[in-house]
């Protein structure tokens, strides 16, 4: 399709009105433009550029310890934020490995979430931290748990007239450590073959809370309650980590594609989940100590 309308929004209201009128929002363009040229899709007929909207930028640590991330915060900004690195490590891990430094400089967390790839890096950490997406439309504002934001590969539950404007991440409990990692074939410009997030809380040597999510292993990123149950209440020892990894592999419903077969992904799911859990536990124990 030929692009017949291109506007640059000067206010959030402009942007929301344009989206409601059928325009696709573009910020960093790292998914939209590439997807259009690869032949999978075409550029939308109507585009509204939202990248100049200052109020949708920014990363803010709130008084209650929660984090507010503007939809236009770039991966590079998030990965470099001391607040994110210290308290929301898994999100920093994820943002630090998206694309290359060019992708991270231009690509935004909002774009990453709304592209709805089951292999996206930031989804697992945000789901495990219990993050909420703020969606704005001409009729008002709606809040949706990030865990409920995706309907399938490339599909969100946002309404056609809604624009993602911010992501809120609640403060983790004391003694929480987290990690995200992926299986990759290349150090940059890579997409997770398999990814895993672990957010664990350790109090006096006992795992009091565990949240484990799998990436590129199901149609949408999701938590794995069986893996969480294997860890919760345990000492976070090798047996518990082994059981949690096995639970992730058992819950996985991967596809076979050019990046790996379903069998390979399932086998690697256990490995990557174990590594993510071990790293998160190690970070949590530093907090607990």
């Amino acid at each position: 399709m030929t692009v017949t309308s291109f506007t640059t929004a000067r206010t959030v209201e402009d942007a929301v009105a344009a989206v409601a009128a059928g325009a696709r929002p573009v910020a960093g363009g790292t998914d939209l433009v590439v997807g259009a040229r690869s032949g999978k899709t075409t550029l939308p007929g109507s585009i509204v550029a939202i990248h100049r909207l200052a109020e949708l930028h920014g990363i803010e640590l709130l008084d209650d310890g929660g984090l507010r991330v503007g939809t236009l915060a770039s991966h590079a900004e998030i990965a470099a934020s001391e607040d994110v690195r210290a308290r929301f490590s898994a999100l920093a891990d994820a943002c630090a490995i998206v694309g290359s430094h060019a992708t991270r400089a231009q690509g935004t967390i909002g774009g990453n979430l709304m592209n709805a790839s089951p292999a996206m890096e930031t989804g697992g950490p945000l789901v495990c931290f219990g993050a909420t997406a703020t969606l704005r439309s001409p009729s008002g504002t709606r809040w949706v748990a990030v865990a409920d934001l995706w309907a399938g590969p490339g599909k969100t539950t946002a309404h056609a007239d809604e624009l993602l404007v911010a992501v809120d991440v609640p403060a983790p409990a004391a003694g929480t450590g987290s990690a995200y990692l992926r299986l990759e074939y290349r150090r940059q410009m890579e997409i997770a073959v398999v990814g895993a997030t672990a957010v664990v809380t350790v109090v006096d040597g006992t795992v009091t809370d565990a949240r484990i999510a799998m990436t590129a292993l199901s149609p949408t990123i999701r938590r794995v309650p069986e893996a969480e149950a294997a860890l919760a209440g345990s000492d976070g020892g090798e047996g518990a980590i082994e059981a949690a990894g096995a639970a992730v592999a058992a819950a996985a419903t991967p596809i076979s594609d050019v990046r790996g077969s379903a069998d390979y992904r399932r086998a690697m799911a256990a490995v990557i989940a174990r590594r993510a859990i071990a790293t998160a536990l190690s970070r949590a124990r530093q907090e607990d100590a």
Binding site: T2, T4, F6, G29, V34, A36, R37, G99, T103, Q188
Partner: protein, 155 residues
């Protein structure tokens, strides 16, 4: 449909008329006429098209040109000071960082951004930092040596 815009490339403002779907690489090469930046994969995999947008690296093949209006665009042509090569460019020549030259414009821009963000990188940081830029000739050693040779010495 053509849209009038002004693109500022290497400090010069260029009035252009663009189809809104035009990517920044095509605009700079075909409309502005600066052909240093290369189209390798056209898919954000290879980094040959890399430019700086307000100092930040961008794969220009994957960025809409109209979004760059109001930003400072830097291409490989903007790295030298007249006929005097930037230290990084001279180091690429001296240390075997160039063979066929196709990746070189993007590699130089990428390394410039890398050194701006991290003025004294380790060898590992250079290798990881540049791994979004593919080179089929050099085996990367000359490129890494060239970047390390100016690390900590350039701005």
């Amino acid at each position: 449909m053509k849209v009038e815009a002004t693109l500022t490339v290497n400090g010069t403002a260029y009035p252009v008329e663009l189809d809104p779907g035009t990517n920044l690489l095509a605009a700079v090469r075909d409309v502005v006429g600066l052909t240093g930046s290369k189209e390798g994969c056209d898919d954000s995999e290879c980094g040959a098209c890399m430019m700086l947008l307000d100092g930040q690296p961008v794969n220009s093949c994957s960025y809409l040109a109209l979004q760059a209006e109001g930003s400072e665009i830097t291409t490989v042509e903007g790295l030298a000071d007249g006929e005097t090569l930037a230290p990084l460019q001279a180091a690429f020549l001296d240390l075997g960082g160039v063979q066929c030259g196709f990746c070189t414009p993007g590699m130089l821009v990428s390394a410039t951004a890398l050194l701006e963000a991290n003025p004294s990188p380790t060898e590992d940081e250079v290798r990881i930092g540049l791994s979004g830029n593919l080179c089929r000739c050099t085996g990367y050693d000359g490129i890494v040596k060239a970047v390390l040779s100016v690390a900590g010495t350039s701005s």
